[in-house]
Symmetry: C2
Subunit: 200 residues, 2 copies
DNA sequence: CCGCAGCGATACGCGTGCGTATCAGAGATG
DNA sequence: CATCTCTGATACGCACGCGTATCGCTGCGG
């Protein structure tokens, strides 16, 4: 039915998409959601405004797409070591990303945007939930296997770990130091054998 | 030196200030920082735009002042019970405020605004730091007095408790349930005598 | 090497919010 | 009751950003 000649895709299109998405994220990081403008993105990307409107319907569409593309910084699956070690590494990884990455600098914008656009809200909640769930499952697994005893529900422990990280990021000038991760994890998981470590 | 007749202050002025500050906070909660407009506030407060500009220099001045006035919801000084109980009550209080209060609904706006205006940033950081510090001191006191053993540095424990609360508020649809507060506190503080409570 | 798709630049109409100015009337003062 | 401050309404000029349209040019595909 399609008598179309099936022309090869022009490489310029994908190149534009990539450049513009990156510029959009930088703009979100710097200006936030409210002050985000298509014109700033165009200037930052050294691109004509029309190119942006050719590739995305509107401002919101670009923002949502930029976030979704940034999502690809997937959490690396740590599969070596004891469960406690794997948990520590996961927490440490999240702390590092939160401390310094383009995506993390966009989180304030994402929070603000989530209050305005359902599509952003869905993305934000889903993304956060996924990160939290994988940590929860790791903790639950460690408890099931008897490696340690949790001092509270796995999900609550996960929330405390992630919360500590983001509290530093969002509510104070000093981000959470990744080096504190082991201490934080140890505080919430009690090895079955060893006695509790004392802190003077 | 002042030959001024010292006229009594017109009550309408303070009344306007109060009404407009409240409307500004509601506007921040609903629209966020970026979409905040003086004209919306005026409409919401059933007040002329000129009245607002007569009492505040500009948009930022109003926002900063509205936040500072909301700050007055001071944390009640809990002074009864064991230190652990006082900590639990404090955490529970923060959780309740975070779950549902006008001020807490403004936090996304505050975070966004902190990225743009130094005055808002100072307020935000100072306010958060104060809350965190009072919790830290409470924990440190309980450790010093030998009531319990912390499983980590007091400040880190405080960060985990507050973080868990705000993670629920900002990063997922479900706010932190205040009923989880005792479990969270217990997980991070170990009574010196009793054996650790097990969670199946 | 031809033809066309994608490109940057530019200009446009529109809406919106800023911060200012003006003005008549309501309400507090004394 | 006379006075004068504060108030809400309204209009203004300005700047900015949206989303659209147009136009030559560039560089890719065939």
């Amino acid at each position: 039915m399609d008598g179309l000649p099936a022309r090869r895709p022009d490489p310029r299109v994908e190149r534009s998409r990539t450049i513009i998405r990156a510029a959009a994220l930088e703009e979100l990081a710097q200006s936030g959601y409210g002050a985000f403008t298509i014109e700033s993105v165009a200037a930052r990307a050294h691109v004509g405004k029309s190119t942006i409107y050719r590739l995305w319907r509107d401002k919101l569409d670009l923002i949502a797409d930029a976030f979704e593309s940034a999502h690809e910084q997937a959490v690396p699956d740590v599969t070596t070591g004891t469960t406690a070690q794997r948990i520590t590494m996961l927490v440490q990884h999240v702390a590092e990303v939160a401390a310094d990455s383009l995506f993390s600098r966009c989180i304030p914008a994402l929070i603000e945007g989530a209050g305005h656009d359902p599509r952003l809200r869905d993305f934000h909640y889903r993304y956060s939930a996924r990160r939290r769930q994988s940590l929860t499952e790791l903790i639950a697994g460690g408890i099931r296997s008897g490696e340690f005893t949790a001092s509270c529900e796995p999900d609550l422990a996960a929330q405390a770990m992630l919360g500590a990280i983001f509290y530093g990021r969002l509510m104070s000038g000093e981000p959470f130091a990744p080096s504190q991760a082991p201490q934080l994890v140890a505080a919430l998981l009690r090895p079955r054998d060893a006695s509790s470590p004392e802190v003077s």
